[in-house]
């Protein structure tokens, strides 16, 4: 059995086309969801409205993680922005799929596809 700590990291970096790229690593659950919420809130308060979330290194998500995106999606869309998802492992995508979240969020195979799905920045 793994003895690794319940790690979760969310890093924000500037992406092309006026996007904020959020790289997720590890396990996103009811313990770590508040870390992600703080990261997205700081980016939102800093003016970001075009979010691309890179799930490539995320190994687990529960409803607490999904709930974080729901906190922000309405406010982001109100300002003509979006939160687009990319590069999910199958078992993470399954959780989105079980709840029909593709209706709320665009999910892409790669980060590049998510970035160019936004209209060209002015």
């Amino acid at each position: 059995m793994s003895k690794t700590p319940n790690t979760f990291i969310a890093d924000v970096r500037q992406g092309p086309n006026d996007t904020c790229l959020i790289d997720l690593t590890g396990y996103l659950d009811a313990h770590t969801a508040s870390d992600l919420e703080q990261v997205i809130k700081a980016a939102f308060d800093g003016g970001c409205r075009r979010f691309v979330v890179n799930f490539a290194d995320l190994d687990y998500i529960s409803s607490a993680g999904l709930g974080v995106f729901m906190v922000f999606i309405e406010d982001v869309k109100r300002d003509s922005g979006d939160i687009k998802m990319a590069a999910m492992k199958d078992k993470v995508f399954t959780v989105f799929d079980l709840l029909g979240f593709q209706v709320l969020f665009d999910i892409f195979n790669t980060v590049d596809e998510a970035v160019i799905a936004f209209p060209d920045a002015q």
């Binding site: 659950d29 313990h31 529960s62 409803s63 709930g67 729901m70 078992k91 959780v95 079980l98 709840l99």
Partner: protein, 146 residues
């Protein structure tokens, strides 16, 4: 160990979200090798995580002096997970009202967790504490498909 041998294991955790990783590792280790698909294993782990997270967050309000007990029983027909606690049967009206944004978020997240549990498990049954049974117990059941 054959996939269809009877098997039962028990874990006690304190009511802290820090415990969720231990819960997931425990469930994964017990279920593994008993003939369930990866999809089924991941779903069972998720359902138990969601149930414990709800208890920790709502019923126990993150009180680490409280204990949650998890018993997993596997046989030739199914896996059953019993999650028992000594909290008062959960009454949402007893929770202090946070600001509206927080309140909406709490409701949504709680609802999502229960929705996930229903989708990945075959049966969910809640038995509140009674004079003959001092602990509330949630039974999560997944039947074998193979």
């Amino acid at each position: 160990m054959t996939p269809f041998s009877n098997h039962s294991e028990r874990l006690q955790i304190v009511a802290s979200t820090k415990s969720l990783q231990s819960v997931r590792e425990f469930i994964a280790s017990v279920v593994s090798g008993h003939g369930f698909t990866d999809f089924e294993e991941n779903g069972i782990v998720l359902a138990v995580d969601e149930a414990c997270a709800n208890l920790i967050t709502h019923a126990f309000q993150h009180d680490p002096s409280q204990v949650i007990e998890i018993v997993v029983a596997i046989d030739h027909k199914q896996i059953q997970v019993e999650i028992s606690d000594s909290a008062r049967p959960f009454d949402p009206k007893s929770v202090a009202q946070p600001n509206m944004d927080d309140y909406l978020r709490e409701r949504r997240v709680g609802g999502l967790g229960i929705s996930l549990m229903r989708r990945v498990m075959d049966d969910i049954r809640y038995v509140p504490a009674s004079p003959g049974q001092p602990r509330n117990t949630l039974f999560l059941t997944k039947r074998r498909t193979a």
